[in-house]
């Protein structure tokens, strides 16, 4: 029975536009993050460029040929080095000893490469004219050596950790909010369309709720998996990036936290949804669910520069904020196992309690139509009016 209900939720939702759009956006987001990681991860592939030399420019061929750390130039001289070649894109730039000719906007990287190379060559020439030997010139250029020491003993993978934290905490927040809202709208739809009474003639409210949570949960988990797996494949593809161990342990942790967090928030959203019978009342009804979820996200957002502050640490043990803050915190700090275990245990136990409470509210409010069911009303009639 639960499976029949879950399957309807999955089929209906998977066909809907918001789901398709959201899934597509996730794919795009994952690719974007992977690309970003590649760029930030210091890819040492040099860019191939073609520099045409003509006139006095030809004399610079030897100086320019080795290229730089980011550019691998191919030097073109003779017939191929013409303004026509620049215009048709056969070469990137033409240098005649005094001017650089571009097609369109100058490429700043090539531009500064040529200028810096020639300037430093000229500097060396003039220094030797002044009687300085090679050793003098080297000492003239040697920079002051300053070492970077991180007192927290942390690694220098901050950017990667930041991406992992944003992706895991941010995605958890986003997907819990989106899917919580989907679930709530589904509950309200069943109430407002009155189909609920036909449903309840066949199934118990708790079965109905379980089917809905499982069905939508499966889809939400699928999206989370796309995101997490995509992200790690992306990071893996980023060459030369040493992935911090914290990032790796984040993967299973993110999934586990998401499952427990989903059970917690989905049942909360379903419960608040059941207190109203019109879509118009949804936004005010969802506040008790949205506010705690949002506060977890806000704590994370304001703690990026200082991810181990007390708000994050405490929040990672409170079930309302833990789904977002636990993966966020772990991405930065390689948490000890007992902390992860404690936080997850609290979350799982709270989820079970929330399922019971939400199920009770749902059973109470499901057949009440018209005005919004108040929590005071629930308390007054807690003995008599619960169905199922």
């Amino acid at each position: 029975m639960i499976w029949t209900i879950a399957r309807r939720e999955i089929v209906t939702r998977a066909r809907s536009k918001p789901f398709i759009v959201l899934t597509a956006l996730l794919f795009v987001g994952v690719i974007a993050i992977a690309v970003l990681a590649n760029v930030l991860g210091g890819d040492d592939e040099r860019r191939d460029v073609r520099i045409g030399l003509t006139g006095d420019g030809v004399e610079s061929a030897e100086l320019l040929a080795p290229g730089s750390s980011s550019l691998a130039p191919e030097i073109v001289t003779g017939a191929g080095a013409s303004t026509a070649a620049v215009e048709d894109g056969a070469i990137d730039v033409l240098f005649d000893g005094t001017s650089l000719s571009w097609e369109g906007i100058p490429d700043s990287q090539i531009d500064s490469f040529i200028r810096e190379t020639l300037t430093s060559a000229q500097f060396t020439d003039r220094a030797s004219d002044l009687g300085l030997d090679q050793e003098d010139i080297s000492s003239l250029f040697s920079p002051v050596e300053i070492e970077e020491v991180r007192l927290d003993g942390g690694d220098d993978q901050f950017v990667l950790r930041l991406i992992a934290a944003a992706a895991s905490g941010g995605a958890t927040f986003m997907l819990l909010q989106i899917w919580g809202t989907f679930l709530m709208m589904g509950v309200i739809e069943e109430k407002s369309s009155k189909v609920i009474e036909v449903l309840l003639s066949h199934v118990r409210p708790s079965t109905l709720l379980a089917g809905k949570v499982l069905g939508l949960g499966a889809l939400a988990l699928l999206q989370m998996a796309i995101l997490v797996l995509g992200l790690f494949v992306g990071l893996l593809l980023a060459s030369d990036v040493e992935i911090p161990t914290g990032v790796w342990t984040t993967a299973p942790l993110v999934i586990a936290t998401f499952v427990a967090g989903f059970a917690f928030y989905a049942s909360l959203y379903a419960a608040v949804g059941s207190t109203v019978s019109r879509q118009e009342d949804a936004s005010s009804a969802q506040i008790p669910a949205m506010l705690p979820l949002l506060s977890g996200y806000m704590i994370a957002a304001f703690s990026i520069s200082n991810p181990e502050n007390p708000a994050v640490v405490i929040g990672s043990f409170i079930p309302f904020t833990a789904p977002v803050l636990l993966p966020f915190r772990n991405a930065f700090a390689d948490l000890p196992l007992w902390q992860v275990g404690l936080s997850l245990s609290i979350l799982v136990v709270s989820s079970l309690l929330m399922i019971r409470l939400a199920g009770w509210i749902y059973r109470f409010a499901l057949l009440r139509t018209g005005a919004r069911t108040t929590y005071a009303d629930m308390w007054r009639n807690r003995k008599s009016d619960v169905i199922g």
């Binding site: 029975m1 029949t4 209900i5 309807r8 209906t12 739809e189 369309s193 009155k194 189909v195 609920i196 009474e197 036909v198 449903l199 309840l200 003639s201 066949h202 199934v203 118990r204 057949l367 139509t369 007054r380 009639n381 008599s384 009016d385 619960v386 169905i387 199922g388």
Partner: protein, 301 residues
């Protein structure tokens, strides 16, 4: 036939409002019973109690002698007063879905859903979304949903509300067919004259309790009033009966209200003397006319 549905001394209070006040009723197997009463009399609460959607404060509900539990409820078909289905689900899919929830396997559900769509003249609309169907056709889908699992007990809350005449006739036909097959049907209505055409048995409720019960003829004959209707072949001027009172009259006919205990003979003789009588009937009032008396003054049917 076996016992059927029995509600005994059901009580339910919602805050200050007493919805059921010791209501008892019996719907034997193979019977079709109209459940009548003004708005707020407790019809819907009683029906929801049968469906397990309202938990009575006291009283018992039994089916064929044992308490009506979830397993027994699998054999109940329900059409709530507030009709509702999924707006963006196809007609066939929707009926199949509810069949599955009622415990049918996929192929049986599919086969039965198609049968009912055909029977209700909706075959060509099976892939239409519910919201694309007309109001009347949506009602037919709703009926199919209630019937998909061949229920032994049908609880129909205001089944004729919103039905077009063709669908209403079909509904009567199907409901009668189900009772002939041994199912029992309890349907509520406040369209009393429609009830009289459909069934002989009625239960009248007011303020949460049964106030009258029996065949419609019995209920009518319990009335302390009789109506004597006379029709003459020629116009008769100024007919004034010796007993009773004229409630309606025109040149060629008159309706005289008499006390049931009164001997109508003087009045009949008088009518025959006044002119050539074409027809003459004496009957208790229609159920709808009795309704206000049955459920107590101040309530509207």
């Amino acid at each position: 036939m076996t016992d059927g549905l029995r509600l005994e001394l059901l009580r339910k209070r919602f805050g200050e409002v007493v919805a059921l006040d010791g209501l008892s009723l019996h719907v034997p197997r193979g019977s079709l019973v109209g459940f009548l009463g003004p708005n707020g009399a407790g019809k819907t609460t009683a029906m929801r109690s049968v469906m397990g959607m309202v938990r009575p404060d006291a009283g018992t509900i039994s089916w064929d002698g044992s308490p009506l539990d979830d397993a027994a409820r699998k054999r109940v078909g329900y059409m709530p007063q507030e009709r509702g289905l999924y707006a963006r689900m196809k007609a066939l899919e929707q009926i199949v879905y509810f069949g599955r929830l009622a415990g049918l396997d996929a192929s049986t559900a599919d086969q039965r859903a198609n049968y009912w769509l055909e029977r209700l003249d909706l075959s060509d609309r099976r892939d239409a979304l519910l919201q694309e169907l007309s109001g009347g056709n949506q009602q037919r889908v709703q009926l199919a949903v209630a019937l998909i699992h061949d229920p032994d007990l049908l609880i129909l809350d205001e089944p004729f509300a919103g039905l077009d005449p063709v669908a209403a006739t079909k509904m009567q036909e199907i409901v009668t067919e189900r009772t002939e097959a041994g199912a029992c049907v309890l349907f509520s209505s406040h369209q009393l004259d429609l009830v009289s055409t459909l069934t002989r048995d009625a239960i009248v409720v007011a303020k949460g309790a049964v106030v009258a019960e029996g065949t419609i003829d019995e209920l009518r004959s319990r009335s302390p009033l009789r109506r004597l209707r006379v029709r003459w072949s020629q116009p008769v001027a100024g007919f004034t009966p010796v007993v009773g009172q004229i409630t309606e009259s025109d040149q060629r006919s008159a309706t005289i209200e008499l006390d049931a205990a009164t001997d109508p003979e003087p009045c009949i003789s008088q009518a025959m003397a006044a002119g050539q009588v074409e027809s003459l009937t004496m009957e208790p009032p229609e159920l709808s006319e009795l309704f206000a008396d049955l459920v107590g003054a101040g309530t509207e049917p």
